[in-house]
């Protein structure tokens, strides 16, 4: 086993330092070391997107990034999305529009949608469907997720 490697990552606005195994996945660092268990693991091959976080502002599947590769970066997870007690418009949209059932894919889906709305604040339905096609949901058939993202886009446009 390799020697532990020092890393410093800014996670949800807090500077976190640790010594980690070089093979430790970012998602496991978040979940196991930092107890940020809102980020989930649904596959191991970057197909499902349940583990999606924002890495330096870009949606990234944290199951295929080593923690050491995120050294010096900023990571935002679902736990860091709300503004204090006020839900992010996407969280609010998913709640209002019944954009989730079992909830397992939801944090990753919301983080992907956050990236989508940063790049395209008023996406069409087709653009939303394309934009979240890196994320699998087995419960909803995506229709309410599309509605949720539209809901969020409209609210963000108003504010």
């Amino acid at each position: 086993m390799s020697e532990p490697v020092p890393i410093t990552i800014n996670v949800n606005g807090r500077r976190r330092s640790a010594m980690v195994e070089a093979r430790l996945l970012l998602v496991h660092y978040l979940r196991e070391n930092l107890n940020l268990t809102g980020t989930h693991v649904g596959c191991d091959t970057s197909q499902c997107g349940a583990c999606t976080v924002l890495l330096d502002g870009r949606s990234t599947k944290s199951c295929t990034v080593f923690a050491v590769l995120a050294d010096g970066s900023e990571v935002q997870t679902i736990e860091g999305l709300a503004d204090g007690d006020e839900l992010h418009p996407l969280q609010d949209g998913f709640w209002e529009e019944h954009g989730l059932q079992c909830g397992y894919c939801t944090p990753g889906m919301i983080m992907s949608a956050a990236n989508l709305l940063q790049e395209n604040p008023s996406p069409s339905e087709d653009e939303i469907r394309e934009g979240i096609s890196g994320n699998l949901c087995r419960c909803t058939g995506y229709q309410h997720i599309v509605n949720a993202i539209q809901h969020a886009a409209e609210r963000m446009a108003q504010s």
Binding site: Q47, Q91, W95, E96, H98, G141, H144
Partner: protein, 796 residues
């Protein structure tokens, strides 16, 4: 009318109430099994077979045992000293099946040894370091070949690999004797038929793929002689019963918890070897242990669904009247029978009656062992298979007779005035009214407009088709006579001090939203705010009894138990309220719940608040004669029959002539699930079901090679629908209530999965019909479609 101060509470049943589960889920605050950490917890990793069939000759665990931080390495044979063969939940004969293989492996992924280690990565390293030698045996992959005399058999005592054979036919099963009546009527019907359609069809093997893989944390406390098991399960009470039995414990010594569960779809009904092994290993190593499945393990070892081959014949008159059905079905059940394996394909034949009057039926079923992952329930569990076979055959008949697919169905519907309707298979459909549902679907879809659109597209040289399917399914499982685990459900309702309400349900949800719908029902029942109600579930130490969530039973059975318990609690509230109003000579029978008060009906000034009465119940001075303090009631609900929801799905597809790619342009679903508590949640259930049914029609298939090696063991190879693959669904409903439960609700969890699959394939065949195509197998892979086009010269 006199009024009192205070809010008027809206009725919530039937309203689009947003879910109470969601705040924790959208903020990353929910606790799934993998989020549980216990002090001193160790981690499990399983060494699994990489061959489909073989005899274990040796297992070398020395390298694994030598690793620092490895607590224990144990083989299947060693573990069998602590755990007997796994129980199954059906009455069919079954070979012994151990949590971890003892001497022989029968599918790729079957566990052969387990590592217990300090860390998850280390446990996996150690499992990888175990060396296993096998004497390989021929892999049995094709179920029809498996049944040939002289084929390699998987299990001693199961000749030709046949697990179950059943046969019934004629004009139906005689309920007195359970024997088929006059079988010659079937042959006569086919001999006299004007037209017969015959088709071999495969309802292919699928992987359920709940987004949360399976996982378990087990903690045996030797001092207390008490075991706690947290598991991603649909039915913690069944888990408790079975784990207790296999561990030699009583149910009073086991607590099972389903924490937040990330989807089930049937594959989390079974109690798996990993769950038993975790419990036994926690007792062995005297520490809590955790195992979390990875996705490849899920493809290899979590139960698969479907995999039925059907030889279907339908006889009819030239006017489209169906006169007989023959179905010979071969179910490839994989290597072992697990909890409900053998029962699932039996539902297929029972539900192949569909929505039609079928004068005569012959049904043959053979369930066959092969060297593949065991099968069990997958969303719909037997009904999608049966309805697919039937609705494809009816569509072929319509095409043969050049009849409209809606009209041929209408002609054969069970008429509304014939319910309750007894089918040839011995089921009794509770209620139904099919014509209005068909009419509404045709109207919502603008069927004639769709046909015109299709024809116009064809005139432009495009490959476009429309399809229709009409299903009926069976929901609300029970009753106990047909569900091996018991078919009832349990609920508890406690009115707390201060007038808040805590309720429990044995219907353990994993996405269905019971915390919301059950609270809606109680809010209306007691006329109190939704926020004053908490619904607890999923923990056998909190929920006294239960069966679980499967077979679209949460509302129809669990909801009925809730209403029953609430009725008892309400009666007691009224008795305490009357006792508080003795000066006004109020009788409990005169009282109603209204806007947070308990009042004389029509006289709100004669009332007490809900909270006042609740407080009095816990400090009842003086205690009314004949009463006990407190309000905590419970109820079991045993349904007298199943419910039979139905619906009509219509779709339009287009195929690319050059690539063979199919695009789903439209899907219209008109479903009838009886009364609806929360339309938002019902829509979500239908959407999700549609996506899974479309997934089967268009994308999904578990594939094995000739050596029994799975070639679809990750999301890279097993294609599930993504957002861009699906259109916006158009939904509507008709409402035919059921007399089976007081809610009039039938169940909706599986509906979408059942109608959509044949509906999409019927559209695909319609699209390809100008090329002379009469059937296409699922999934609609581009290569398959392209070949059919090419075989016919690429020209329509």
């Amino acid at each position: 009318m006199t009024t009192v101060d205070g809010p008027v509470l809206p009725k919530l049943i039937g309203e689009r109430v947003k879910r109470r589960e969601d705040p924790r889920l959208i903020q990353g605050q929910a606790t799934y099994v993998d989020d549980i950490k216990l002090p001193g917890m160790l981690h499990l990793a399983f060494k699994r077979s990489d061959i489909a069939h073989g005899i274990i000759q040796s297992i070398d665990t020395s390298a694994a045992e030598a690793m620092e931080g490895v607590e224990l390495v144990i083989t299947g044979a060693e573990l069998a000293e602590h755990l007997g063969p796994m129980p199954i939940g059906t009455p069919f004969p079954a070979p012994d099946h151990y949590s971890v293989a003892t001497d022989r492996v029968r599918y790729v992924g079957e566990p052969v040894a387990v590592v217990v280690a300090e860390d998850r990565y280390l446990a996996r390293d150690a499992a990888d370091a175990i060396e296993v030698e096998y004497e390989e045996l021929p892999a049995v992959v094709d179920p029809e070949a498996a049944m040939e005399p002289g084929s390699t058999t998987l299990h001693e005592g199961f000749e030709r690999n046949i697990a179950v054979e059943s046969y019934w036919g004629g004009t139906g099963v005689n309920p007195e004797t359970a024997q088929p009546e006059d079988d010659s009527a079937v042959d006569a019907a086919f001999a006299e038929a004007d037209v017969v359609v015959t088709q071999r069809m495969l309802n292919q093997r699928l992987a359920p793929n709940a987004m949360e893989p399976r996982g378990v944390v087990a903690h045996y406390e030797p001092g207390r002689e008490y075991l706690t098991v947290w598991s991603a399960t649909q039915n913690p009470h069944i888990l408790r019963t079975l784990v207790a039995a296999l561990m030699g414990l009583g149910e009073h010594q086991v607590r099972a918890v389903a924490p937040e569960v990330g989807g089930g779809f049937g594959c989390k009904i079974n109690i798996y070897g990993e769950e038993y092994a975790a419990a036994a290993l926690s007792r062995l190593v005297k520490a809590p242990v955790k195992w979390i499945e990875d996705r490849t393990e899920a493809f290899l070892t979590t139960t698969h669904g479907r995999d039925l081959l059907g030889y279907i014949d339908l006889a009819a008159k030239s006017d489209g009247t169906i006169t007989g059905l023959k179905a010979r079905i071969i179910a490839d059940i994989g290597a072992y029978e697990v909890l409900l394996t053998a029962m699932i394909p039996t539902l297929t034949g029972l539900m192949m009656n569909g929505v039609y009057r079928l004068p005569v039926v012959r049904h043959e079923l053979t369930e066959v062992f092969t060297n593949k992952t065991p099968t069990d329930a997958y969303r719909g569990a037997g009904r999608p298979e049966g309805l697919y076979f039937l609705e494809r055959a009816v569509d072929m008949l319509a095409r043969e007779l050049d009849m409209d697919p809606g009209e041929i169905r209408r002609k054969n519907f069970v008429p509304a005035d014939e319910f309750p309707f007894a089918t040839q298979g011995g089921l009794v459909y509770d209620s139904g009214n099919y014509e209005p549902c068909l009419d509404k679907a045709l109207e919502v879809a603008d069927w004639q407009g769709l046909l015109a659109e299709r024809d116009a597209a064809r005139a432009e040289g495009r490959i476009v088709g429309v399809g229709l399917a009409f299903y009926v399914e069976v929901c609300g499982l029970g009753p106990s006579a047909v569900v091996p685990t018991g078919g009832w459900e349990h609920s508890g309702v406690t009115v707390e001090r201060g007038g808040k309400v805590t309720a429990t349900t044995g219907a353990s949800p994993h996405g269905q939203g019971n915390e919301t719908t059950f609270a809606q029902m109680l809010a209306d029942h007691f006329s109190i705010p939704l926020e004053d109600i908490t619904i607890l579930h999923g923990d056998t130490s909190v929920v006294k009894q239960g069966i679980g969530t499967f077979g679209s039973r949460s509302q129809a059975v669990g909801g009925a138990a809730l209403i029953s318990a609430a009725g008892k609690a309400g009666d007691k509230m009224k008795q305490f309220a009357a006792a508080l109003m003795t000066d006004q000579e109020v009788s409990p029978e005169d009282l109603v719940f209204e806007d947070g008060r308990i009042q004389v009906e029509g006289a709100p000034e004669v009332s007490k608040t809900f909270a006042e009465v609740a407080d009095f119940a816990y400090v009842p001075v003086p205690l009314p004669p004949g009463m006990e303090p407190g309000i905590s009631e419970e109820a079991f609900f045993e349904p007298e029959n199943n419910t039979y929801p139905f619906g009509c799905h219509i779709s339009m597809v287009e195929m690319d002539r050059e690539t063979g790619e199919t695009k789903l342009l439209k899907l219209i679903a008109v479903d009838d699930c009886g009364n609806v508590i929360n339309p938002l949640i019902v829509e979500g259930q239908v959407h999700g079901g549609l996506a899974q049914g479309i997934g089967q029609a268009m994308f999904e298939e578990v594939v094995y090679d000739e050596d029994g090696q799975p070639v679809t063991a990750s999301f890279m190879d097993y294609v599930m629908p993504r957002a861009a693959d699906l259109p916006t669904f158009e939904l509507d409903r008709t409402v035919t209530t059921t007399p089976i439960n007081p809610l009039g609700a039938k169940g909706v969890g599986e509906a979408g999965t059942i109608g959509s699959t044949p509906c999409v394939v019927n559209a695909a065949v319609d699209a390809l019909s100008p090329f002379g195509v009469t059937h296409i197998e699922m999934p609609l892979r581009p290569e398959r479609v392209w070949r059919l086009i090419q075989e016919n010269g690429g020209q329509s």
